[in-house]
């Protein structure tokens, strides 16, 4: 039937995927060799790879690619870590204490519409352009999913669990730490992945505008040198690190889920 979704045989699937990849890179090569743009603006894929290797071995704008990535990851870790440390407990407490929810929600909903990147000038003025400013920008990107998912997880907790905990005379602190936190874990972990993605993107944005090291800074330098191969190599590295961060969080989620499943 034309409408129902057929399952392809593995060979056919592989053939089509291969065809898709070949078409993608084929168009790229064709566009480059047809001189649709000067080679400086449109390098061919293998030139980008060569540039990637070159950037790893020779410093560009002060540092090698790895050192730029390390500087970025340090900022990422601080901003993301701060968002997790503040966002998750606050979200859980908002789920438990109604007054806190009613106080914070209107403020939070107002601030939520300011994109993280719009905080850059403000952050630079308050915390400088080295570590503090970018970290604040990353924080504003990573914070909302942490808070919302912890809050949501806490609100969805099975009431039987809470009643049992109350019957056993648990204090508010222990209910939040031992009942809500554990029950909200799946929601929190889902939030962490969204949060890390937004944090990584906000970091790039912040580094594009203010920074003197980091992978975003490398892109800007490649842009001012009008060297598209440096920019593309940097974009590739950003994509790879982003995927690695996501994989790390997924492994972390699996490790967390394992004991409760047993």
């Amino acid at each position: 039937m034309l409408q129902s979704r057929r399952t392809l045989s593995p060979t056919r699937h592989a053939m089509l995927s291969l065809g898709g990849a070949v078409t993608f890179f084929g168009i790229w090569y064709l566009a480059a060799y047809a001189q649709l743009a000067p080679p400086q603006f449109l390098p061919v894929p293998h030139e980008v790879l060569e540039k990637l290797v070159a950037l790893m071995n020779t410093p560009f704008s002060g540092y090698t690619l790895q050192e730029h990535l390390l500087a970025s990851l340090e900022r990422f870790g601080m901003g993301f870590g701060l968002a997790v440390i503040i966002g998750i407990p606050l979200g859980l407490m908002m789920g438990w204490f109604r007054v806190l929810d009613e106080i914070i929600s209107p403020l939070f909903n107002g601030l939520r519409f300011v994109p993280p990147i719009a905080w850059v000038p403000f952050a630079a003025l308050w915390f400088g352009t080295g570590i503090g400013g970018p970290v604040l920008v990353i924080f504003t990107g990573a914070f909302p999913p942490c808070l919302i998912n912890a809050y949501r997880g806490a609100r969805y907790v099975d009431t039987n669990l809470i009643e049992a905990a109350r019957t056993l005379g648990l204090s508010n602190t222990r209910i939040i730490a031992q009942v809500l936190f554990r029950a909200a874990m799946p929601s929190i972990v889902a939030g962490l992945r969204v949060s890390a993605g937004l944090a990584w993107m906000s970091l790039i944005g912040a580094e594009l505008i203010v920074a003197s090291s980091g992978i975003g800074y490398l892109l800007v330098k490649g842009q001012s040198a009008l060297d598209a191969s440096i920019v593309m190599a940097g974009m590739f590295a950003i994509g790879v690190v982003g995927v690695l961060i996501d994989i790390a969080l997924r492994v972390f989620a699996k490790l967390l889920a394992a004991p409760s499943a047993a």
């Binding site: 898709g20 078409t23 719009a118 999913p145 974009m235």
Partner: protein, 281 residues
């Protein structure tokens, strides 16, 4: 194809269940009162801390200075133009980039969801490009297209395209199989299948995608204008930062937030219009 982060954000906007039963009206009005009191308290705190010098005027403007900055940009203009011109310019770019992304992204997503062959063919390119955050395209767009509007539209398009594709794809995948089989059994044609089964069935997810696309479009626009532009709210932010005009920075941030909220609200109205059965307000 893992739906990944773009999907999960969609969940953040679904309505909350009431935690404890109670008188809904009482709860709602209590929420309102506490909310208003909080906002008034924060406003007072802002005024108090800045007016009496607890926070340096270099770091946070007083509410009065912020209002003056608003009047200045609204009537005299700041950074080449008045607020209205900046807003209209930003909105125009967002709508162009978003419109093109939706027109190409939604059909592509639906096709990938409806046909495994299309999915297998497109996926390699998609998997290769998707992990690159939209903002990372900004330097390349500047190398390619310069500092004008074209580079902004390109970046907005990239930002808005991915959520459109992913969510339409998920929507097409979520069609109930009996429905598809019933349509096939009744001998429906290809075009009618698309118009009467596929699109209506995928519509809730398509709208989720549109909402995420619009947010992404708005964020990438602000970033693009911050990095280099002659008009727009992001440019105002950048200009104010260069002038160390903190009151104007705050005004521009508020304007960005209001515009973002407005666009989301308009999309919500559209969603309600096209899907009157959806419960989302």
């Amino acid at each position: 194809m893992g739906a990944g982060s773009y999907m999960a954000t969609a969940k953040l906007d679904t309505p909350m269940p009431q935690a404890k039963p109670g008188k809904p009206l009482m709860r709602a009005s209590r929420r309102l009162v506490v909310g208003v009191v909080t906002l008034v308290a924060v406003g007072f705190l802002w005024w108090f801390l800045t007016r009496f010098g607890y926070i340096s005027p270099m770091r946070l403007p007083t509410p009065g200075e912020t209002y003056d900055a608003f009047l200045q940009i609204a009537f005299e203009g700041y950074g080449n133009a008045t607020l209205l011109t900046h807003v209209l310019h930003s909105t125009k770019l967002v709508l162009i980039g978003f419109g093109v992304a939706v027109l190409l992204g939604v059909p592509l997503g639906l096709a990938m969801g409806a046909s495994t062959s299309v999915e297998a063919f497109i996926n390699p390119a998609f998997l290769f490009l998707r992990p690159i955050p939209p903002l990372a395209w900004i330097p390349l767009s500047i190398v390619w297209l310069g500092l004008g509007d074209a580079s902004k539209i390109m970046v907005i398009f990239i930002g808005a395209f991915v959520p459109s594709v992913i969510n339409s794809y998920t929507g097409a995948r979520s069609l109930s199989q009996p429905l598809v089989e019933a349509a096939a059994m009744l001998g429906i044609g290809r075009l009618r299948f698309v118009l009467e089964v596929l699109i209506p069935g995928a519509l809730p997810m398509i709208f989720t995608g549109l909402r995420l696309s619009l947010q992404a479009a708005w964020t990438t626009l602000v970033a693009g204008e911050l990095i280099g532009a002659a008009f727009g709210l992001g440019y105002v932010l950048n200009q104010a930062a260069q002038d160390i005009n903190i009151a104007m920075i705050v005004v521009a941030m508020i304007a960005v937030a209001i515009m973002g909220a407005l666009m989301t609200a308009v999309l919500g109205l559209l969603e309600h219009h096209f899907m009157p059965w959806s419960k989302r307000k």
